[in-house]
């Protein structure tokens, strides 16, 4: 079987801090990490590969340093990796990103299952996975927490707000996965060695026969009009007194503010 896992390098949240006085972002030496949800997707592929055999190809679109995430994927057990990097891809929104990834996956071809993380922790849009499925006309299910394979089909389980569903999809298909699919394993020594020496090809726009109007900022339908700081949070301070007084004061405050109904 052939699995394709999509990865994104994102800024580590720890390194994004807020200036408490001005409420603006402070960025000191922002480190890149692999989006945690994408590592769950990789872990899901690794588990399936253990049972059903096959090959895992990790792909990522981003600046040249996104190669780090692909080497990490190889250290975990991915067999191959491809980096999509081109100045022409810059400024892509999810529409342009999904087009670019779809072109790559078409070029790789002959795959059984595409796995994506539910969302990336920087943008939190959760859009690229479903958009990719649509562009590739693949059967698709989101928020998958369990996958099994059965004669050209996969059986998946996922949670919605009001309950859980079990679904059957014919292969090839695309799924996005959540944390419950399983924590990523540790990289093996052999994996680490392979990650170091692996050749990771860089594909540019011309390598994937991309239509220039559909990639990067040109291919993006959305525009950021304005960026601003959220209003500062209201602070009403520390509640003092004995434990009983604290409990009473808090509940009274919440009632006066209309947060809790009277009677509470």
């Amino acid at each position: 079987m052939k699995f394709i896992v999509c990865l994104k390098q994102v800024p580590e949240t720890e390194s994004v801090k807020i200036d408490e006085k001005t409420g603006t972002l402070m960025r000191t030496g922002v480190k890149g990490i692999t989006n945690p949800y994408d590592l769950y997707a990789l872990e899901a592929a690794l588990k399936l590969k253990e049972v059903y055999d096959g090959k895992i190809i990790a792909i990522s679109m981003g600046p040249p340093q996104a190669e780090e995430s692909l080497r990490e994927a190889i250290s975990y057990g991915a067999d191959e990796a491809i980096l999509l990097s081109d100045r022409l891809f810059a400024g892509a929104d999810t529409l342009a990103t999904s087009y670019t990834l779809a072109q790559v996956i078409r070029k790789i071809g002959n795959f059984d299952l595409v796995l994506c993380g539910k969302e990336a922790i920087d943008g939190n849009t959760a859009q690229v996975g479903p958009q990719l499925a649509q562009r590739l006309s693949l059967p698709y299910v989101a928020y998958v927490r369990k996958i099994g394979i059965e004669e050209g089909k996969i059986i998946v389980e996922r949670a919605l707000e009001d309950g859980s569903q079990t679904l059957v999809l014919p292969l090839p298909a695309l799924v996005t996965v959540v944390k419950e699919i399983g924590e990523p394993r540790l990289p093996s020594i052999r994996g680490k060695m392979q990650a170091k020496k692996a050749h990771i090809p860089i594909w540019e726009a011309k390598d994937i026969s991309a239509i220039p109007e559909k990639i990067g900022l040109t291919g993006s339908a959305t525009r950021v009009i304005k960026i601003f700081s959220p209003p500062l949070r209201e602070k009403r301070g520390i509640i003092s007194g004995t434990v009983e007084e604290q409990a009473k004061k808090l509940l009274s405050h919440l009632q006066t503010q209309g947060i809790l109904k009277s009677g509470n």
Binding site: L25, N124, P130, V141, I225, P230, Q246, L260, N264
Partner: protein
Amino acid sequence: MDIKIDLEKCTGCAECIEVCPFEALVLVDGKPQVNEACTICGACAEVCDVGAISLPEMPKIKVDKGKTKDVWVCAEQRDGQLAQVVYELLGEARKLADALQQKVIAVLLGYRITSLAQELVKYGADKVYIIDHPLLKDFNESIYSSTLISLIRKSQPEVLLAGATARGRSVMPQISAALETGLTADCTGLAIDEKTGLLLQTRPAFGGNIMATIACPEKRPQMATVRPNVLPKPLTNSGRQGEIVDVHFNEENTKSHVQVIKFIKEIEDSIDLAEADVIVAGGRGLKEAKNFKLIKELAKLLGGAVGATRAVVDAGWVPANFQVGQTGKTVNPKLYIACGISGAIQHIVGMQSSKVIVAINNDPNAPIFNIATYGIVVDLFEVIPAMIKEIKRRREIHS
């Protein structure tokens, strides 16, 4: 397609580097240089006092915008019940449609759901499209999206809104890719720009640390998912009249062959975190798994849901669907009570848009107090039982 920096004008003050939310500017030889991370958001150009930074001309993509009209709302239903967010969407759609002098159209998919149409009219819809079919009984993104795509292709709405729920966030991206249009996820504010008539979509970014207003200038429909619990529920008007249209379900839309073979309603955690008004959440300060019952008791008394930190989920005290924060859920209840939670950034990004945050922690230096509306610095094992007792006492007085 880059921003242009006039190095002659630039004074090297580095203000632009400070304000860039994407880390896309770096100082090289005392002057800023732009890299791939740039999204041309314009924050740098705005802050530059000497006008050294200019934005590129936006590419023009031709659409016949004259043809599109009306504000559409995806009326999400679960097992025959409208999701709360649908009411909020109808209220917002009404305002947008009035500003555009257009209609609000609700689209309702499901099985045996015809009775919900009148409800949608009462809350602001001028017209309701109903597609009622046994194959739409269970939510299945492949069938739902292809059904919606063909309806939208025919009718060409100006704006399309859905709740930022599991269902909405799965179907809307598929529609946007099929129609090659823009989609903004998880919006907390919508407005019509007076000058251009464009839909302005505001959403939190970087875990709520900054806000971004996004538009989709050249493609239609302008699509957004809206976070539940943020916009007010409109008043109902039982006298409102609306048109109800039955739309034929096209079997072609099932050709993806994705099948739902089982649905288990989860009653135990019936109040979903993402839509709860009150959340009581526990962290490591609870010390042991069994102490979580304290959190559950308080949550139950307040009619709320139970949340947890990643540490507690990883320790196996509660299942993963309780997790709030990065790799868990993003929540925005009216009241969030954080018990024994220190406030790691990964947790904070998932709950800092809650209206009122109460922090209970015996460490006065815990970062959770930085974002708390009210803080109580005390042992949670003392104050939570006191709260439970006080709530019960007040209820007895009232009953």
